[in-house]
Amino acid sequence: MSEGSRLQASGSRLPSPCYACVFLPPVTGQPAPEPGLLLEIAQGFSPRYERHRDDLISIDVRGLERFIGSKANLCCTGEPSMRAIGEELLRAAEANGVRAHVALARTRMAALILAHARPGLTVVAPGEEATTLATVPIAVLTRIAGCVIPPRQTTRDDGSADIAALFTQWALVTLGELAALPADDLTARIGRQGSVWQAIARGEDIRPLVPTEPDERFAGSLELEWPIDGLEPLSFVLTRLLEPLSTQLERRDRGAAALHVTLDLVTRDVHARHLELPTPIRDVRTLRTLALLDIEAHPPAAAIDRITVVIDPTPGRIVQHTLFTRPLPTPEQLSTLLARLGAVMGQDRIGAPAPIDTYRPGAFAMRAFATEHRPQTQPQPLVPSSQSPAASALRRCRQPVPARVIAKAGQPLRVTSDRRGYAGGSVVTAAGPWRTSGDWWADGAERAGEPSKAGEAGRAGEAGREKHSALSYPPHPPYLPHLTCSAWSRTEWDVALSDGAVYRVFHDELRDAWFIDGIFD
């Protein structure tokens, strides 16, 4: 009989299933093992392994007897094959410079417990799991509980340590004594967990092995025969790189959380760009557009020799569409739109408005516009109701317009301005005054009437153009919160003029000048 036909005839010599557990015991005075060491050892034996901790791993070793052990073992029962695999695992650990406990059994639970309880190699004959575990001290439960009990089955109040303490209080010394307890009585005293702990004590698996997936790298690189200099050819290359990555992401139900584009230039410099994506994206066109827009905004200094794209994966987005709500732009559409708008207008010019907790007139902040909006099933009522009239709105001049105001007893009678577009006229109706001031405590110099640096700069820049000087007026309170620290004190009036316009004007008390702050429209 040839060797091949003998293999087929003999079939699997290992009990099915069969698990090996490798445990690296802590050694006094030596550092903890490297996190990837056990993974490396396991990957050398089987693709089906589960990492419990850095020092503990379970391996599904079914079928390995065909590759490990002598030909004589193939004709024997499963135990010699298991021993051969265990010895091979020990040798692999020693080759990596660590001392390991290895246990092989038909159940993963028995192998896990024995790997903790006994040094060296332990092989349990099929069907002997409960008998072998019977002599193991019950204290071992506290060491393995974290990796064998699913989180749902443990609660904060009755954790593994407490349970082990309870068993000790009950004078249980070995797992065999726990396994021998009447199951009904145990469950009546400590609940459903009683049966779970008893199954563990007998070496029965309470859940299947969940294979650890190796970290998948979503990366692609392309070395160009001829350097490229320009966005259009780069677009084609990026598409070619991103398409297989997108397929890979889709297979794994992943989306891109971040996109790293590294460009090796002909000058041997490296131009790296990193894009944090607002939502998991795997659409090739969206990713390409975002990368191109970013590179357009930050172009490389020389032609490109090599392009590398790396994607940081994140779990995919699950979307439940409905026919009963209005469609909203997808996060991909909004991400692309915001990137395009940022390239056209500037990133600081787009977003969602946000009020600031201040009394400063016109102060506001800009927030990033969210790319994910939930559809609204019920319309939100207008506050107050939709029957109420529209609120009067103000168009605010970001830089107040210097105005000439004739006032009597502080009340404006005529408002004009030298600025084009603000003809002005006599005041038909006026409402006010409204006094407002703030931040005087933050700027002592301005409070005392001394011109600030900003005021001086304004004076230098516009000298001689305005009689009422915007010259001595500091830059209008900007919208950025960190700049809203200069003092202000003003008296506001809302005036309807003879030309039909309604303005909000104010008298700057600090600089004794009138300005148009906004237009009611």
Partner: protein, 253 residues
């Protein structure tokens, strides 16, 4: 033959299929929010046949202080509270966040694009023209992205010369972009410039304004009495009477 054609057109209208296939105008279905976007002002909506048509370029025009922005923000508030996204291309960067809040706009659903156009360009007219083109590009990008409920280009205070220098094909291109979508595209300006054939022009004029009373906790300015007239509303202008509504001031504290 004529009967068959009339029957086909009737069927197309009933099923709301592509309106370009019919020679007659579509039947108005008042209250159909998928056909029109309500402005939130009942009297005006009645004149508009339910609201401003979706998939069309409409206009709000009027002189300074005629209530254009007040109406616009009210529309934005109503749209955002319906769950729609609203984009405002604020060409001159004059929006006031306090006014947005007072109008009841859901700020998270408002995409604010702040332009660089200035009222008084001085010597830098070319820069102003470029800023205008940027604003139009931004508007085109938003329309192309699609699925916004209301998209507005606010040119109300823009110098008339830079608006008039824009080629008329600009507006035709924008109209083609918005056609067939669920978006109400809106221009706000001084004079009608770009209304599409299916869109509407709402001309506003303030009839009066009220100053605040002596109570300092009230608004300084109490609001407009606005007269809104629908200009050139094809197939909707059965009633030429203007709609009247008042705006209210908001508390200034």
């Amino acid at each position: 033959m004529a009967l068959a054609r009339a029957a086909l057109e009737s069927l197309l209208r009933t099923r709301q299929l592509d309106k370009t296939l019919t020679t007659a105008l579509p039947i108005d279905l008042p209250g159909d929010e998928y056909a029109s976007g309500a402005s939130g002002v009942d009297e005006l909506d009645a004149r508009l046949g339910g609201g401003l048509p979706r998939g069309q370029l409409s206009e709000i025009v009027g002189s300074r202080s005629s209530g254009r922005l007040s109406l616009l923000l009210h529309m934005a508030a109503v749209a955002t509270r319906r769950g729609e996204l609203v984009a405002i291309v604020d060409a001159l960067d004059m929006l006031d966040v306090a006014s947005l809040e007072a109008a009841g706009v859901v700020l998270d659903r408002l995409l604010w694009i702040r332009g660089h156009v200035v009222i008084n360009p001085g010597m830098s007219r070319e820069l102003n023209q470029r800023a205008m083109e940027q604003a139009l590009r931004a508007l085109a990008l938003v329309l192309q992205a699609g699925n916004f409920g209301l998209v507005v280009l606010d040119l109300a205070e823009a110098p008339i010369e830079i608006v008039s220098r824009l080629p008329f094909t600009t507006w035709l291109r924008l109209q083609r972009m918005v056609e067939g979508s669920q978006t109400v595209a809106m221009l706000v300006g001084c004079t009608p410039i770009a209304r599409s054939s299916g869109g509407l022009t709402v001309k506003l004029g303030a009839e009066g304004w009220g100053p605040g009373a002596g109570d300092v906790r009230r608004a300084l300015f109490m609001g407009f009495d606005v007269e809104a007239r629908v200009v050139r509303a094809r197939a909707r202008g059965q009633d030429d009477a203007p709609a009247r509504f008042a705006t209210k001031g908001h508390v200034n504290v």
